[in-house]
């Protein structure tokens, strides 16, 4: 299909699921290897750079506060900026939409008789389609950022907000330049390609009538711009031509230059992973520097225009559930740390201008068309981007909100409407058959377990998987775990009450989450056995849905009802405030993170105060005890040996510290190699869906590679993972048994 496609522009606007599917396949087939290499390089550099920032967390807090305060005061700042720019001798224009912004720039160019313009990278100018407007007037627009230079030659949309051409390998750039520029110059290395572009562009810089830039931040008090770059094309665009036009969104204005300070190091570390980019400029145009007469056009005076663009931002600021997106400083940390983005890039996971998890809100807001946020379906809610965002935007939260709104646009099938009635789904959800199916995992699993083994047999009869794929979009290539005959709660009630508590240790409550209860009851039993062996007195809760499954389908109201029910039950059940321990990380993260938005502040704080990760509790508890934990968990009883390859669940890493588990296992005598990937690719229901199966498989490749590398270096390893879907994914990809840490420990009792 991608063979017929002339340009990725055809799949830029993802209004329908069909276009999204085409885009995914195009990206996986054509662009994935360059995107993987480039995003993962950025990602590794970012981890290095942010870990060396002594006050990383404090900087993030400060940056967030500045953005909150500036956005709250945005119109006053716009007014103040306009006065500052005019006081400096510049011109100011506030553009309500893309058309007004383009018209203004066109008029300035016409008046100044601009024939050629050199341009720094600016996503806002992409958003308003400025080049098209100027080219219509006969102006030669030259993109001077080398990535934009490539895109202009190829006529493609950006695939990344910091490296817009990350989908191009060196080899593809060589082929493109040969075709486009018809040259015999050597173009076979990065050096040669750069030299070619530099020499072409140097004369353009010196001959240009106008320079165009965006801005990373703007100071309202003095009209100064913060401009971050590494190629020096922005500096040249500001200083070489006599006319400078700077254009940016209203969200970039901060009160004064002092507010630039925390962003300077934060942006470089979060973006390219450097202590600082080569050039961080603080300019207050028009520059007081004489215009050097490169053009031979005689003396000229400098002229500066500041264009501030609304184009949907004001409406976004007033949209309480999405307005947080305006804090974005375009660093790309969320893209580079996103497992799906790492295999797709922005042509698959992005729109005409903005890409990745943060991009969907931006694409919808700046075009005014919600449908264009369709690619938000590629956000699995894994939350790996959340701790990476320098202004702490809850990006998965934005995408859940978008999904909920997108659900409203689709007329329901008769089957879906019937399911709404049968299951008592709140009418406001307007959820599809597939969404209802995945959101009600607890119901599906309850019936499946009730009718087991008949239900398991049913999925194996010819045509059953075809039916599941057609009706619910469950990919037929995906292995479906068998329903157990007995649930965790049932086994615990029958067998475990017979086991005597040792009454030495703490009272704990274990959450019978629906995934473990129906999907891996024996794991739940193992968890209880481990806790008891460590001396804890254990009670198991009822198994109630926590809302995670519903939330991931954008069914916020269903999730809220489930969260409230569970929260009330737990508050009553746990008046004593015993530790509530959770085996399944996605449920733990649901309670510790997502409940903030679903429950009252009081209920959330109460629940949060006593909820924790079961393995972490066990490790910390035993660390405080006098005895040696090796007396309880004896590694000699685990025949496969001490080498372990461990993958910690993505959402777990957002809410607790998996290194506690690793250190505990090391204390027991294991040699632990940890995966270095953001997510396994399964992400709950995501990897089961027909539309996303290939993405999920592509994401898992890196994890499998790392496991293979560990084995080829050091011999066989036991595979260990902490989430139920990670375990499924790894088992599917490796054909090996994968254990949960509690299952490993239970084998050592």
């Amino acid at each position: 299909m991608s063979k017929q496609m002339k340009s990725p522009r055809e799949i830029a606007a993802k209004r329908t699921k069909e276009i999204l599917r085409r885009a995914i396949h195009f990206a996986l087939e054509t662009e994935s290897s360059a995107v993987r290499h480039n995003t993962r390089t950025f990602n590794r550099s970012r981890y290095r750079a942010t870990s060396s920032l002594p006050d990383y967390d404090a900087l993030k807090d400060e940056a967030r506060r500045i953005k909150e305060a500036s956005l709250a005061n945005r119109m006053a700042l716009v007014q103040q900026l306009s006065e500052s720019v005019m006081r400096n001798g510049g011109h100011f224009f506030f553009a309500r939409d893309a058309r007004e912004a383009c018209q203004y720039v066109q008029e300035v160019c016409k008046r100044r008789q601009v024939r050629s313009m050199v341009k720094g990278k600016s996503m806002t100018s992409e958003e308003i389609h400025l080049n098209t407007a100027l080219e219509r007037d006969g102006i030669r627009v030259v993109e001077t950022d080398l990535a934009e230079f490539i895109l202009q030659a190829a006529d493609e949309q950006p695939s990344h907000i910091v490296g817009p051409a990350i989908h191009y390998s060196r080899e593809r750039i060589t082929a493109l330049f040969r075709r486009k520029f018809q040259t015999d110059l050597p173009l076979d290395t990065g050096e040669e390609l750069t030299r070619f572009a530099r020499e072409r562009l140097r004369s353009d810089f010196l001959a240009a009538d106008a320079g165009f830039t965006g801005a990373n931040l703007v100071s309202a008090e003095c009209g100064s711009l913060l401009l971050v770059e590494s190629e020096a094309n922005i500096r040249l665009s500001c200083i070489a031509p006599p006319l400078h036009i700077a254009l940016t969104g209203l969200e970039k204005i901060v009160p004064s230059r002092r507010e630039f300070a925390p962003f300077i190091e934060l942006l470089a570390a979060s973006g390219t992973g450097q202590p600082l980019s080569s050039y961080t400029s603080v300019f207050r145009p028009p520059l007081p520097v004489p215009v050097s007469d490169f053009r031979g056009a005689g003396p000229a005076t400098r002229e500066f225009h500041m264009v501030i663009v609304d184009n949907g931002r004001e409406a976004l600021a007033q949209d309480a559930r999405l307005s947080e997106a305006l804090y974005c400083i375009r660093c790309s940390a969320c893209l580079n740390s996103c497992a799906n983005f790492q295999v797709l890039g922005g042509h698959g996971f992005g729109g005409a201008t903005y890409s990745g998890g943060i991009g969907a809100t931006w694409e919808a807001a700046t075009t005014g068309e919600l449908k264009l946020a369709r690619f938000s379906d590629l956000c699995t809610g894994c939350s790996r981007c959340v701790p990476q965002c320098p202004v702490r935007i809850d990006i998965p939260g934005l995408n859940v909100e978008l999904r909920s709104r997108l659900n409203q646009l689709v007329p329901l099938s008769i089957v879906a409407r019937t399911l709404h009635l049968l299951l008592g789904v709140p009418p406001v959800e307007n959820a599809s058959t597939q969404q209802i199916f995945f959101a009600h995992y607890d119901r599906v699993a309850r019936w499946g377990t009730f009718f087991a083994p008949l239900s398991n047999f049913a999925t194996r009869i010819p045509g059953a998987r075809w039916f599941l794929e057609k009706s619910f979009g469950i990919d037929r290539r995906r292995h479906l775990a068998a329903f157990p005959k007995k649930t965790w709660v049932e086994i615990a009630a029958k067998e475990l009450t017979a086991m005597a508590d040792s009454h030495r240790g703490p009272d704990v409550l274990v959450l019978a989450d629906v995934f473990t209860n129906y999907g891996a009851p024996q794991r739940g039993v193992d968890a209880i056995r481990c806790l008891r062996a460590a001396g804890a007195r254990v009670r198991l809760t009822k198994s109630l849905p926590d809302g995670r499954a519903a939330l991931s389908q954008g069914m916020i109201e269903t999730a809220r009802i489930q969260a409230e029910t569970l929260s009330k039950y737990l508050a009553a059940e746990n008046a004593a405030g015993r530790p509530l321990l959770v085996v399944e990380p996605s449920v733990l993260a649901m309670i510790l993170r997502e409940y903030r938005k679903l429950l009252s502040a009081e209920s959330f704080a109460n629940l949060r105060s006593f909820t924790g990760d079961l393995m972490e509790f066990l490790a910390r508890h035993l660390a405080q005890q006098a005895g040696d934990p090796r007396a309880i968990f004896d590694i000699r009883k685990f025949a496969p040996g001490p080498k372990i390859f461990y993958h910690a669940h993505c959402q777990q890493r957002a809410v607790c510290d998996p290194s506690v588990t690793v250190e505990f296992l090391q204390r027991l005598g294991f040699q632990v190699t940890c995966s270095q990937v953001e997510c396994c690719g399964m992400a709950g229901s995501f990897g089961y869906k027909k539309d996303f199966y290939d993405v999920s498989q592509a994401v898992s490749e890196e994890l499998v590679e790392q496991w293979k590398a560990a084995e080829s270096a050091n011999g066989p390893h036991t595979l260990l993972a902490s989430g139920i879907s990670c375990i499924e994914q790894l088992q599917g990809a490796t054909g090996r048994v994968v254990l949960h840490p509690v299952e490993l420990l239970a084998k050592m009792l």
Partner: protein
């Protein structure tokens, strides 16, 4: 980066050594260091302090002073608002920045906290320069794009 003696001759010798015979050398009039530090350099043949537009196109070396240096990020802060420092620090392939060791701060944010700096009129136009111009857009990391291919910092002890 190298630390050099606090004398006009040491500045001249260090600049000439780094320029390895390339001429012309463009020198932007210093605004933070005394001009005296640069007088011996100005007497060297091929050192130009009043370039014509064509000199910018061809000169291989540019020398400016810097009003501060930042230890953690390895940056120098060059005021480009005055005179020709903006061009001299940008167009030649080698940029040599000379900075007083007493103007060293630890982090970029330290500059913004300094009282005179907080005034909007102080150093209106400047650049934190932290390396040569570079790109990874063409595949591997390449040094030397639209700006200098090489940055050399001389710190006056």
């Amino acid at each position: 980066m190298e630390v050099v003696g606090r004398s006009p001759e040491a500045v001249r010798d260090a600049v000439l050594a780094r320029s390895s015979g390339k001429r012309p050398i463009l020198l932007a009039e210093p605004h933070y260091l005394s001009l005296d530090f640069f007088r011996p350099l100005l007497c060297v043949e091929g050192v130009i302090s009043r370039p014509r537009p064509d000199d910018y196109r061809t000169a291989p070396v540019g020398v400016t002073d810097a009003f501060a240096a930042v230890a953690r990020t390895g940056s120098v802060c060059v005021d480009i608002g005055a005179d020709i420092a903006g061009y001299v620090s940008l167009l030649p392939r080698l940029h040599i920045a000379v900075v007083d060791i007493h103007k060293l701060v630890f982090r970029p944010s330290d500059l913004f906290r300094l009282e005179p700096f907080a005034r909007p009129t102080y150093q209106e136009n400047f650049v934190f320069i932290s390396g040569p111009s570079a790109t990874a857009d063409m595949g591997p990391l390449v040094r030397g794009v639209h700006g200098p291919h090489e940055l050399h910092i001389l710190v006056l002890s």
